[in-house]
């Protein structure tokens, strides 16, 4: 067994944002195991104060380029809750469809461009362009399809334009939807091939488990993304999202500009694996069969399996998008009027984004000016869980040596798909 291990990864690569890994073990004694987040804080909650209600989602969308659609919806839902605005089934369906486009885009990008290089032990996706051309072309096809879905429904792939308070500013045409549906149906073959590729590489996923609390949305109707209540494996009855502060309990730590969170245990996990663990019984047939094929057969405590759950959710995103388009094709697609009854109030919006449950909360005055804001970001919620996974993993695997341990800890961070720019910074304690 190696007695001394020193790992100091400054700004880990192939993750969104900046994070450091520090491990210091002398003579078999653990001096330090730390996941650090030094990302520059950006202060979004202070940036929206004084802005009009219709500008707030435009601003908070910029929290994250990869999940800008999810941030837009959490933001719009919070504003609509604050002002008592109801949305139509048409708007809801379009939002849900757009959200699945983002999930597909983000998961494909993360699993294929950022994680697969680990499983093939190369430094990036770039050498794979030459060595695995067919697979890379398949991946770009899926990624392009997801982006085009977002463009057709949202007006732009990143920072959606059409999604507004209470409505969409423009509708897709039936023709666009029909073509989109056809392409989604055709993409199922590519998804199956991708699942085969991932299966062939799954032997590279480290064997490690740590049971934790898994937090996600849930609803009776379907595997929840756009709406629902909060559930974990430690509570019996789902809780309304309004009470999110009592679930996330954020706190500031010295090694991170992002806040940490905990609920019924020392830490919890959010994201694809948490959603899968809480709601896997609601997966439709194709996604359920891909899950089984990839070794996910019910609740799973290996955080590295988050990437497998992401692959399953890619299939779900496509399955569900096809259903929603079928519904939309039966509906009259007419742009709705923008008549907003501006009211003072406070509201919470929650939505499942690629990296987990996301909460926005705003308070508005009678002129619709934002006076208070709080955004709780899924990557934040995972930082504490990453730290505890690190501690257990290092102690159990002292024998593997510095090099492999460093590699596997980086891989563990990537498994969580952290979006660190997002996670800095967010907590507003001014709410009474």
């Amino acid at each position: 067994m190696s007695k001394n291990i020193k790992i100091d990864v400054h700004h880990i690569t192939r993750v969104e944002g900046h994070g450091n890994i520090v491990v210091d073990i002398k003579e078999g004694n653990v001096n330090k195991i730390e996941w650090q987040v030094p990302e520059a804080p950006r202060f979004f909650e202070a940036m929206v104060i004084g802005r009009e209600y219709h500008e707030v989602a435009t601003i908070t969308s910029r929290i994250c380029g990869i999940c800008s659609i999810g941030h837009t919806f959490a933001s719009l839902k919070a504003t609509e809750a604050a002002m008592g605005i109801e949305i139509s089934d048409l708007t809801k369906n379009l939002r849900e469809l757009l959200l699945h486009g983002e999930t597909l885009q983000s998961h494909i990008l993360h699993v294929c461009y950022l994680v697969v290089p680990d499983l093939l032990k190369v430094n990036s996706v770039i050498p794979l362009i030459k060595s695995h051309t067919d697979i890379i072309l398949l991946v770009t096809r899926l990624h392009r399809l997801a982006n085009e879905l977002c463009e057709i429904i949202g007006g732009r792939t990143t920072h959606p334009i059409r999604a507004r308070v209470g409505r969409f500013s423009m509708m897709p045409t039936k023709k666009e939807l029909e073509i989109l549906k056809k392409r989604l149906v055709e993409s199922v073959d590519d998804l199956k091939k991708l699942a085969e590729v991932v299966k062939s590489l799954a032997g590279g996923i480290p064997d490690f488990t740590r049971e934790t609390e898994y937090l996600s949305l849930t609803n009776d109707k379907e595997y929840a993304f756009y709406e629902g209540e909060c559930i974990t494996n430690d509570i019996n009855t789902p809780l309304h999202v309004d009470g999110y502060k009592n679930m996330v309990n954020e706190f500031v730590v010295p090694q991170s500009t992002a806040k940490y969170g905990k609920f019924n245990r020392e830490s919890f996990m959010v994201g694809a694996l948490a959603r899968y663990n809480n709601n896997y019984k609601q997966l439709p047939s194709l996604s359920a069969s891909v899950a089984g094929m990839l070794g996910l057969d019910g609740v799973n405590y290996n955080p590295f399996m988050n990437n497998i759950a992401q692959v399953v959710e890619c299939v779900f995103a496509v399955e569900r998008s096809i259903e929603i388009i079928d519904e939309l094709l039966q509906t009259e697609l007419k742009t709705e009027k923008k008549e907003i009854n501006i009211k003072a109030g406070r509201g919470v919006g929650a939505v499942e984004v690629p990296r987990g449950i996301l909460f926005h909360e705003y308070e508005y005055d009678e002129n619709g000016i934002c006076t208070n804001a709080n955004c709780v970001i899924p990557t934040n919620l995972n930082h504490n869980n990453i730290q505890l996974d690190f501690e257990k993993y290092v102690k159990e695997n002292l024998a593997i040596g510095e090099k492999e341990m460093g590699f596997n800890l980086e891989m563990m961070v990537r498994a969580y798909d952290p979006c660190i720019s997002c996670s800095t910074h967010f907590l507003n304690i001014k709410f009474k």
Binding site: A40, A46, S169, I429
Partner: protein, 250 residues
């Protein structure tokens, strides 16, 4: 043919949505890797290099340590390109500069912990407020095809060209109904084109996320405001959303 230019990508305070636009080039990225040699790109690959022919900078500068980092990158780069509105002007991050004080901003976000040393921040700056920038690619987010054009131009030793005419021109070409006629305040008359008037074409007023054209036609803007019964305040309030300096005073 000489060896391929060594290219690096760096990100500072931003959402990283602009580098995502590069990934969104899909198969064209493969062509790009034939044109340039990507030696450092933290989000995509593990590796680094001592110097670069072209450094692409995304994000705004908000801390002393970031200022030192960008100066160091500048020293090791032959050309430096600021891409995305955060790098160009500070972008949306500049909104915090408009608040009463940075201490207030920190308190609102971090509460009682606001004074912890690692949470230090200074007023948001664009990259060219700290180091020399050779070329700017504006937009929130950037337009991926414009990015491709700029890289090709630089790789061929030419100066890239960015449109210097207002969004209204592109909007008219797309035959959109003017949003002022639909009771919206739109920054199209002042804003720099190049986006294809993407927001007005989707029924949403322009926020000037690419900044304004050089010497915007202020008289025309005033005429429009007068015609539709708006005041200059509607413009000045709106135009600071993406860190654009309000150049529309009378």
């Amino acid at each position: 043919m000489g060896s391929k230019p060594k290219v690096a990508f760096f990100d500072f305070a931003c959402c990283e949505g602009c580098q995502l636009q590069i990934a969104n080039l899909e198969e064209d990225v493969i062509g790009l890797t034939n044109l340039v040699d990507v030696v450092e790109f933290r989000e995509v690959l593990t590796g680094s290099a001592p110097e670069y022919d072209i450094a692409f900078i995304e994000g705004s500068i908000t801390r002393k340590e970031d200022e030192e980092r960008i100066k160091d990158i500048r020293e090791r780069s032959k050309l430096l390109v600021a891409f995305g509105q955060c790098a160009v002007s500070g972008g949306i991050n500049r909104l915090k500069n408009n608040r009463e004080s940075l201490d207030q901003v920190k308190k609102e976000v971090y509460g009682d912990s606001y004074n912890m040393p690692h949470l230090e921040t200074f007023p948001t700056k664009g990259v060219d407020e700290v180091v020399k920038v050779d070329f700017h690619i504006p937009g929130c987010p950037i337009d991926k095809n414009e990015f491709l054009r700029v890289v090709k131009a630089i790789a061929l030793g030419k100066a890239p060209s960015i449109p210097n005419y207002p969004v209204c021109i592109e909007c008219k070409l797309r035959e959109n109904e003017c949003l002022f006629d639909l009771n919206e305040v739109c920054l199209g008359p002042l804003a720099r084109a190049g986006c294809g008037a993407v927001c007005p074409s989707n029924g949403v007023p322009c926020d000037a996320c690419r900044g304004t054209v050089n010497n915007p036609n202020q008289n025309a803007m005033h005429e429009i405001l007068e015609k539709y019964n708006y005041t200059i305040d509607e413009i000045t309030r709106k135009i600071n959303l993406f860190g654009v300096k309000p150049e529309v005073k009378k």
